[in-house]
Amino acid sequence: EAGVTQFPSHSVIEKGQTVTLRCDPISGHDNLYWYRRVMGKEIKFLLHFVKESKQDESGMPNNRFLAERTGGTYSTLKVQPAELEDSGVYFCASSHRDPGTGIEKLFFGSGTQLSVL
């Protein structure tokens, strides 16, 4: 079974440019999450999709960030225009609930290292 894949693995852009990150969740996982870790800080929640709907976007930093999940499959996270403080590692995760316990189990991608210069 393929895991969660993220593309690109690294991105270096200049301040003011636009970058789009992509996440392909595990097939059949309705829940998709985006997280971010800024240098020296903890991993923080950005937003949560259930299929194609945004369930919770309370963690999105500002309106320069736009996430989509058309058709409920892969998701994109666009940063426009990028600022220096947007640098960090962006993780995507998809999940399912254990059929026995009902507990949600997250599967993470390897992340996209974004550097804004």
């Binding site: 969660v4 829940n31 999450y33 997280y35 903890e42 991993i43 923080k44 929640f45 937003l47 949560h48 369930q55 919770d56 309370s58 963690g59 993780f91 995507c92 995760a93 999940s95 254990d98 316990t101 009902g102 507990i103 949600e104 189990k105 997250l106 599967f107 993470f108 991608g109 390897s110 992340g111 290292q113």
Partner: protein, 112 residues
């Protein structure tokens, strides 16, 4: 949301058993405990999950006392490849993972 506290770092040697304890004094009735492992340049990877007592799988054991205010991840006979950051997370069974808080984790270093 239950806040977790775990040691910032730990050192051990190959072949030893390593126990990492996490404190979650404010854990609620519906909360469960999950441990993740993270290697450099990778996303966190699920290790083990539990609600109470003891859970064991092929890589680790999780001990949760009756009051559930703490939990201990036990890694038997560690190897160099177990060097990683380990996160203890507490989440509500009925809520989504958006409510989970990642702390600083425990940086485990295994020496030859």
């Amino acid at each position: 949301l239950a806040k977790t506290t775990q040691p910032i770092s730990m050192d051990s040697y190959e072949g030893q058993e390593v126990n990492i304890t996490c404190s979650h004094n404010n854990i609620a009735t519906n909360d469960y405990i999950t441990w993740y492992q993270q290697f450099p340049s990778q996303g966190p990877r699920f290790i083990i999950q539990g609600y109470k007592t003891k859970v064991t799988n092929e890589v680790a054991s999780l001990f949760i006392p009756a009051d559930r205010k703490s939990s201990t991840l036990s890694l038997p006979r560690v190897s160099l490849s177990d060097t990683a950051v380990y996160y203890c997370l507490v989440g509500d069974i009925y809520s989504s993972a958006s409510k989970i808080i990642f702390g600083s984790g425990t940086r485990l270093s295994i020496r030859p």
